[in-house]
């Protein structure tokens, strides 16, 4: 790859990339794309890929075999997209190796196997196959960040540039001042996607205002929560989009120092982002004097190893500095004193990925999406026994009921919805009768629920509210960094009380002790982990109080999950 020296060279490269991209889809050949991502690998996508490669060469089929990222439809993995000459691309789900020869044989006979198709990438139906966008899982989605996920090869910068990538960065670099970039982000009213929903433009502006140098811009791709898997899918499917957002952030802060902190357990995300950075260096979109603009930028990747707390801003910065990732008291805020005690702007992966479209189309365009206070789109994941499990991208304002029953298809047969856990380990659940609330940062708060990072958990009647509360609080206990007492001692106390109840030794006054202890933990803990650790328990207690009381007074667990049901003795453990 030749390093591009100026904007004209980039434009020429982009034109060639686009031409090659269009030829790929118009030439008289088969184009077969296989989704290779964390979830599809778990379901055998690599075997599918190898098997396809073997059968294509054995059958002397002139074909281009490509890898792409994840389309979000975990429920249909592994997926294969086939473009035959004269046909639009058709996406097939559940393509395990055993189905590969059958599919290829059928296609050669001219049988498009509509029964295996998820949909066709075309505006209308094609030989009985409906458009992909009409699939129930996709119909209600609004895809900005996932627009090209599952279509481009995430390990190819050329693919990304062919579909318009890095245009926003060039626009910022050559046509806008850093102040103008920040003004657009502010106008968009983009709010942080990592949990708290802090306005991104205001954070960037404070970072810009602090005079000390160097400054740092950091992507938070830690994603250590037990309830969400969106950031890693984004990095696996379109890593350059995140990198482009980071570059724009660095430009806005006028700093050459960008970082991405990626959870060590997300191996493929790490590898693909690493590859993206290497390619950007080779092409001259990273490094010194980018495209002759005078702006330089370097991106470093750092990882941790399985400590949820390292996702907290100040802990993450200590982790990057090679210290134990433990939060510190604020102020000073990170925008004043962060990494290496310099002004640092930290945002979530998804936040950065939202930036290019804002720069490209303008902040007011973005603000027109979603609701008034929660603009734009949000990546959400739904866990539990839902029909269409996966990652979806929705406009804010969709109701929780629509999200569950339309996008994720409701619960699978034989399951009855009991509630939705929101905000992971940081908030409470919603009951079945509370689901008509719109998904937006403000609307969920009065209900003790939260958008958080967008990870929701649907649970059915086989889940016991007491046991689930214990699971969520035990997570916080286990992940507590131990720096401050209310959290270090308070969370185990809550778990102990819950264990007592689960084992049939609960006392009526335990419910008051829970309230009392929770209040202390929430008010006195040093960081976000402790400050919200009791929330899932308080929420469960409020919504499913009769179940708690049943455990205590009748020694009965209606779900049959708790040890009382089996008459097991008290034991402590994880």
């Amino acid at each position: 790859m030749k390093r591009l020296s100026d904007r004209a060279a980039f434009e020429q490269y982009a034109a060639e990339a686009r031409a090659r991209w269009e030829r790929l889809w118009s030439e008289d050949q088969w184009v077969i794309s296989v989704g290779i991502s964390g979830c599809s690998i778990a379901k055998g996508a690599l075997e599918t890929y190898r098997n396809l490669s073997l059968h294509l060469s054995e059958g002397h089929i002139p074909a281009v075999l490509r890898q792409v990222g994840c389309g979000g439809w975990c429920f249909a993995e592994p997926f294969v997209e086939v473009k035959l000459p004269g046909h639009p691309p058709i996406v097939y789900g559940w393509m395990t190796t055993d189905r590969v020869p059958e599919l290829l044989d059928a296609l050669r006979r001219g049988d498009l196997r509509p029964d295996w198709a998820l949909g066709v990438r075309a505006a209308g139906a094609w030989h009985g196959i409906p458009p992909l966008t009409e699939h129930p899982f996709l119909r209600r989605q609004r895809r900005l960040l996932l627009e090209h996920a599952g279509i481009i090869d995430p390990e190819s910068i050329e693919d990304f540039i062919a579909i318009g990538g890095y245009r926003a960065f060039l626009k910022a670099l050559f046509e806008m001042t850093p102040e103008e970039v920040i003004a657009e982000v502010k106008a968009s009213n983009l709010r942080g996607r990592g949990g708290a929903g802090f306005p991104t433009g205001i954070k960037w502006e404070s970072g810009r205002r602090t005079p000390a140098r160097p400054k740092y811009v950091v992507v938070n791709s830690h994603e250590g929560e037990p309830n969400v898997f969106k950031d890693r899918r984004l990095l696996e499917s379109n890593p350059h989009l995140v990198l482009e957002g980071l570059l724009i952030g660095c430009y806005a802060l006028e700093t050459p120092c960008g970082y991405n902190y990626i959870g060590g357990e997300h191996a493929l995300a790490l590898q693909r982002f690493q590859r993206a950075v290497e390619q950007a260096y080779e092409l001259g979109l990273l490094g010194d004097d980018i495209l002759g603009s005078g702006f330089s930028c370097h991106v470093r990747i750092r990882t941790g190893g399985g400590a949820y707390i390292c996702g907290e801003g100040s802990a993450l910065m200590y982790a990057i500095m090679g210290q134990r990732g433990q939060p510190r008291t604020k102020p000073p805020r990170s925008v004043e004193e962060g990494l290496w005690r310099r002004p640092t702007v930290l945002n979530n992966t998804e936040t950065f990925a939202s930036i290019p479209a804002i720069i490209q189309n303008g902040g007011s365009w973005y603000a027109s999406l979603g609701t008034k206070e929660s603009t734009g789109t949000k990546l959400v994941t739904m866990q539990g026994p839902v029909k269409y499990l996966g990652v979806a991208e929705i406009e804010f304002g969709l109701s929780m009921r629509e999200l569950i029953f339309d996008v994720f298809g409701g619960l699978r047969e034989g399951y009855r919805l009991k509630g939705i856990q929101t905000g992971g380990v940081s908030a409470g659940p919603l009951r079945e009768d509370e689901l008509d609330v719109p998904i937006d940062f403000e609307a969920l708060t009065p209900l003790g629920a939260m958008v958080g990072s967008g990870g929701f958990v649907a649970f059915d009647e086989s889940v016991c509210a007491v046991d689930f509360a214990r699971y969520l609080v035990a997570f916080s206990r286990y992940e507590s960094c131990g720096k401050c007492t209310p959290c270090r001692l308070g969370t185990p106390a809550l778990v102990e009380i819950l264990d007592r109840i689960r084992h049939g030794f609960g006392r009526p006054e335990d419910l008051d002790i829970i309230q009392y202890a929770s209040k202390h933990i929430i008010e006195l803990s040093l960081c976000g982990l402790g400050q919200v650790a009791p929330m899932p328990l308080l929420g469960m207690l409020e919504r499913f109080r009769d179940e708690f009381i049943e455990h205590i007074t009748e020694r009965r667990c209606r779900a049959g999950v708790c040890p009382i049901a089996a008459g097991e003795p008290l034991s402590v453990g994880r």
């Binding site: 964390g38 379901k43 400590a307």
Partner: protein, 181 residues
């Protein structure tokens, strides 16, 4: 058990040294500190754990104290400072897996296989790590990952028992082969 003792003694530091020299070349002390965790991960990829000799090498190479290295190795859940068993099982205990019953699998493991403090069965066959986050394969919940590549979905206590038996059987076949030779 013997294998684990051998693993403890025989560490070839050459591959780690090569990686450190090629890819871990900090420009200043600040960057050196940033690289400690990554270097430890390289060691764990190579050896399956971070042996003391490797920790020492990393400390010397990056110019940090050995205490600093151990401070990090003991902070993060993923690092091992003891050699793992012959096989390594990552058992997901994320929310999707919990809803699908991973707690029962965790309990079965603890009671039936009497795992040691480092999660290793007493015969050294298997090291189990209960993973608090989400493995990212929720559609297969409850899910485990064996030896860093093979996924086992829809896991329950029975399937787990079968798995352990399969691993035991492979081990027996393996040792028979040796006696034939």
């Amino acid at each position: 058990m013997e294998e684990r003792e051998t693993a403890r003694r025989e560490i070839d530091l050459q591959p780690l040294r090569r990686i450190l020299e090629e890819r871990y070349r900090p420009r200043d002390h600040q960057e050196a500190q940033e690289l400690v965790v990554g270097a430890c991960q390289e060691a764990q990829h190579l050896y399956g754990w971070v042996p003391p000799q490797a920790a020492q090498l990393i400390a010397e190479h990056l110019g940090v104290t050995i205490n600093r290295v151990y401070g990090l190795l003991t902070f993060y859940a993923d690092f091992r400072t003891e050699p793992p068993g012959e096989h390594f099982l990552w058992l997901c205990h994320g929310a999707a897996c919990y809803i699908a019953g991973s707690q029962k699998v965790v309990d079965a493991l603890r009671t039936e296989y009497r795992l040691g403090e480092d999660g290793t069965t007493s015969d050294g066959l298997l090291t189990v790590h209960v993973f608090d986050g989400c493995l990212g394969a929720c559609d297969l919940a409850p899910v485990a990952q064996l030896d860093h590549h093979e996924y086992i979905g829809q896991l329950d206590a029975n399937r787990l028992r079968e798995l352990v038996e399969e691993l035991r059987a492979c081990r027996r076949v393996g040792s028979n082969d040796e006696t034939i030779e």
